[in-house]
């Protein structure tokens, strides 16, 4: 065991750091992709990375990638997150999920058309799977695609779509046959997000922000050549997309944030004295710390497996469930410590309202990308090998599955 780079890793890291020092934008004014200048900065950065082979390090060079190894990609990610944080965000879904799906299941014309511009940051993609009727159950998609001649007509609605409002293309899972069981009647398409038959509406979140969208399709016309994979193979294709999601280990879990609580505690009193000396708080800090650090080291184990060319184990499946719950618990405990001041947000609140923001964000984290409950089920079934829940929606025509409507 060694936390340090091997000589080969160290050499690569040095090269990356030098390149970043040279090329990362200085004094970046605004990396917010919601603002025009922020998006422009992101696109410029992505183009620069692509020209240096850093945009898709592990992809073959003929596809615009870097032809490199997974460990190189991880090291670049670590260094990039320090030198140019956030700039790559808008491309993550396209390069992490949609384009790999096109490369696996799409036709040659689509591969030739889409891979290059996506790598260079010229075109942005979003993923259109979730629907209002099936948040946890993407295979329950109802958005209907009906074929007439060489053309499909699509009607329906998607939801929880990140980046739909600035995306150029979308990967859409649609129902093409309601008379077969649910997993068998789906087909995947790519669509043009600028088509007037596509309407994007932001979702107003409880926190006040809008990071997601609803996307409506009204008689959207799509050519049969926009199909990704065979008719009826949509779920198989979707699994490719979702597997790629699971494999995209990010820059690494960030470890614990207990320092912030310790900072708060230094300025606050309990009934018994300074909060920093409160044994109850100290025990909680220890509990949060070992969980957060445990996640960080779990990520290291996964990265080690990738470095060694092994398939990572299932360890990483635990990250979100732990991180989200620690976040919620830490936030409410810190607010409890602030006592009556805990209800304040913004500048008047201790630490500028950091814990209040976390409290409002945590419920989203516990739900997005698989609820706590779905994730526990996944761990129980895929990791521990326990039986699936009893399914009433298998071997039943989709149109006959109970929906309460």
């Amino acid at each position: 065991m060694d936390f340090n780079d091997t000589p080969e890793e160290a050499a690569y890291r040095a090269k990356v750091k030098a390149w970043l020092a040279e090329n990362a934008p200085k004094n970046r004014a605004n990396g917010d992709p919601e603002a025009a200048e922020g998006m422009a900065a992101s696109k410029a950065w992505q183009a620069k990375k692509a020209s240096a082979g850093y945009a898709a390090i592990t992809w073959p060079t003929e596809w615009g990638g870097g032809g490199g190894k997974t460990w190189q990609s991880m090291i670049f990610g670590q260094e990039e997150s320090k030198a140019a944080p956030g700039l790559s965000g808008p491309f993550a879904i396209g390069l992490g999920m949609c384009i790999p799906t096109v490369m696996t299941a799409g036709n040659d014309a689509d591969k030739a058309r889409f891979v290059g511009p996506a790598v260079k940051g010229e075109e942005i993609w979003c993923q259109l799977f979730s629907e209002p009727s099936g948040g946890s159950d993407a295979a329950a998609a109802r958005t209907l695609a009906v074929k007439t001649g060489d053309e499909w007509t699509i009607n329906g609605q998607k939801v929880w779509t990140s980046g739909a409002h600035y995306s150029d293309f979308g990967l859409l899972l649609a129902r093409t046959d309601r008379d077969v069981p649910k997993h068998k009647g789906l087909t995947m398409f790519w669509i043009d997000m600028h088509d007037p038959a596509v309407e994007v509406r932001p979702i107003h979140q409880m926190s006040g922000g809008s990071n997601f969208n609803e996307v409506y399709f009204t008689d959207l016309k799509v050519k049969d050549s926009q199909r990704v994979g065979a008719v009826g193979d949509g779920w198989k294709v979707a699994i490719v997309t979702l597997m790629n999601e699971r494999l995209s280990v990010g820059g690494g879990a960030s470890g614990s944030n207990t320092g912030q609580v310790m900072k708060l505690a230094q300025d606050i009193s309990t009934l018994a004295g300074p909060a920093a000396k409160d044994a109850g708080l100290r025990e909680k800090i220890a509990d949060w710390f070992v969980q957060a650090e445990g996640l960080k080291y779990t990520t290291y184990r996964t990265m080690t497996a990738l470095s060694r060319g092994q398939t990572p184990g299932p360890e990483n499946s635990i990250a979100k469930i732990v991180a989200a719950n620690v976040m919620q618990d830490m936030a409410s405990s810190a607010m409890e410590l602030e006592d009556q001041f805990g209800i304040l947000v913004g500048a008047n609140a201790p630490l500028a309202g950091a814990f209040q923001n976390a409290l409002m964000g945590a419920p989203g984290l516990r739900i997005a990308g698989g609820t706590d409950e779905i994730l526990r089920n996944i761990i129980a079934e895929r990791v521990l090998g326990l039986p699936q829940d009893i399914r009433l929606d298998k071997d039943v025509a989709f149109k006959d599955i109970p929906t309460g409507r």
């Binding site: 979730s130 009727s133 099936g134 948040g135 946890s136 159950d137 329950a140 939801v159 929880w160 979702i203 107003h204 979140q205 409880m206 006040g208 300025d267 606050i268 009193s269 309990t270 009934l271 018994a272 909060a275 109850g280 409410s332 405990s333 607010m335 409890e336 410590l337 602030e338 006592d339 009556q340 001041f341 805990g342 209800i343 304040l344 947000v345 913004g346 008047n348 201790p350 209040q356 409290l359 409002m360 419920p363 989203g364 516990r366 739900i367 997005a368 609820t371 706590d372 409950e373 526990r376 089920n377 829940d389 399914r391 009433l392 929606d393 039943v396 599955i401 109970p402 929906t403 309460g404």
Partner: protein
């Protein structure tokens, strides 16, 4: 042994629930949430006043209904359930209780009728710094009968007519009555996690202040007020938790995943069973608190702290897990889960957080064991 509401109290509860269902649908709550200029719902406030609830425990001689604390608990439960966006707690649980506990005959005669009639809104202004309220924290001071200092996180401070303020005169910490419409008072609205309730910063610069209760008794009186308020707030919290559980239950019965309602999965069933358990424990502790309102002394201190600890836990758990049960919908602005998520924090913090109440509870248990 008679550990339940009386028939009269039950019928008051039914009446309160029906009244608030009609007068305080969630649209009223969202009206305050969505409009930063709106600091409470004046129509609801007026209607609640007309019901006589503002004077529920105020003696009849002062224009109240002369009911007992338990009756007010029944009303509180209904208010908590409906998220009523009005300065009820500040005015009734804090200021009216403070007046009844410590006010002179003249003070009672002057203010209680106005409170009962809905003409005076009150606020309770004690804390100045983050963390638990301690005597050392109090910097607001009296000089020549005038109050100077700053109070933070004053619930309903923007809309109140009358404040009960904790301040020091020389070495003695006492409560004071301050009319906020007089001179020397500046108010600033503070943004909070629960915009359906108003919170302000009050700055006093030589404001006229009148002693409430004995000089030097400020901390003891504050604690006595907090004990009574904690019981009423616990009923609001239980009412809120009940509603969260109901919302989660209905959603779980109508939302389908994988071909069946999500309420048929044990993950949801057992989550809601835990929610029920916590709420029942909170309700039972709150009942004990209601009983102890009539007893006072150590019984009330222990009962108030128990009620507050159990109810804060129950409402918070119900609010966050009801939201979780709603999945992605629960995280949207348009679904009501976040209103309860916000209010659970508001009620859990307004009379001080559960952590401090746990310490108070154990201190009282030690004192009782030693006695």
């Amino acid at each position: 042994m008679d550990f339940d509401f009386s028939d009269d109290q039950k019928s008051l509860k039914g009446e309160a629930l029906r009244f608030l269902e009609a007068k305080c649908p969630v649209s009223v709550v969202r009206g305050v949430l969505d409009d930063p200029a709106k600091r409470y719902d004046e129509g609801l406030w007026k209607a609640v006043g007309e019901q006589g609830w503002l004077g529920a425990t105020i003696p009849e001689e002062h224009g109240g209904l002369g009911l007992g604390g338990i009756d007010l608990c029944v009303i509180a439960e209904a208010l908590g359930r409906s998220l009523a966006p009005i300065p009820f707690a500040s005015t009734v649980y804090f200021v009216a209780e403070a007046l009844m506990l410590a006010g002179s005959d003249a003070q009672k005669a002057k203010w209680l009728p106005k409170i009962a009639a809905g003409e005076t809104i009150g606020c309770f202004a004690t804390v100045e710094r983050p963390g638990v309220l301690t005597e050392a924290q109090v910097q607001a001071s009296i000089q020549d009968g005038k109050l100077t200092g700053t109070k933070m996180v004053v619930t309903d401070g923007d809309i109140a007519d009358l404040a009960v303020v904790l301040a020091k005169d020389g070495g003695r910490t006492s409560l004071y009555l301050v009319e906020l419409g007089g001179g020397g008072v500046a108010r600033e609205t503070l943004e909070t996690l629960d915009p359906t309730r108003n919170v302000a910063k009050l700055t006093f610069i030589g404001a006229a202040a009148e002693l409430l209760g004995d000089a030097g008794e400020g901390m003891a009186l504050t604690e006595a007020v907090l004990d009574r308020a904690a019981v009423y707030l616990a009923f609001e919290q239980v009412g809120g938790a009940d509603r969260c559980l109901e919302m989660a239950k209905s959603y779980a019965l109508e939302r389908y995943a994988f071909g069946r309602v999500i309420g048929s999965y044990q993950a949801i069933k057992h989550k809601l069973a835990d929610c029920y358990i916590k709420t029942e424990l909170a309700r039972s502790n709150a009942y004990y608190g209601a009983w102890a309102l009539g007893e006072g002394g150590t019984d009330l201190k222990i009962a108030a702290a128990s009620a507050r600890v159990a109810a804060t836990e129950a409402f918070w758990f119900a609010a966050k897990e009801s939201l979780q049960t709603h999945g992605g919908m629960g995280y949207t602005w348009d679904v009501d889960c976040h209103l309860y998520y916000r209010r659970a924090q508001q009620l859990g913090l307004v009379a001080g957080g559960a952590k401090a109440w746990k310490e108070r509870l154990v201190s009282q248990l030690e004192r009782r064991n030693a006695a």
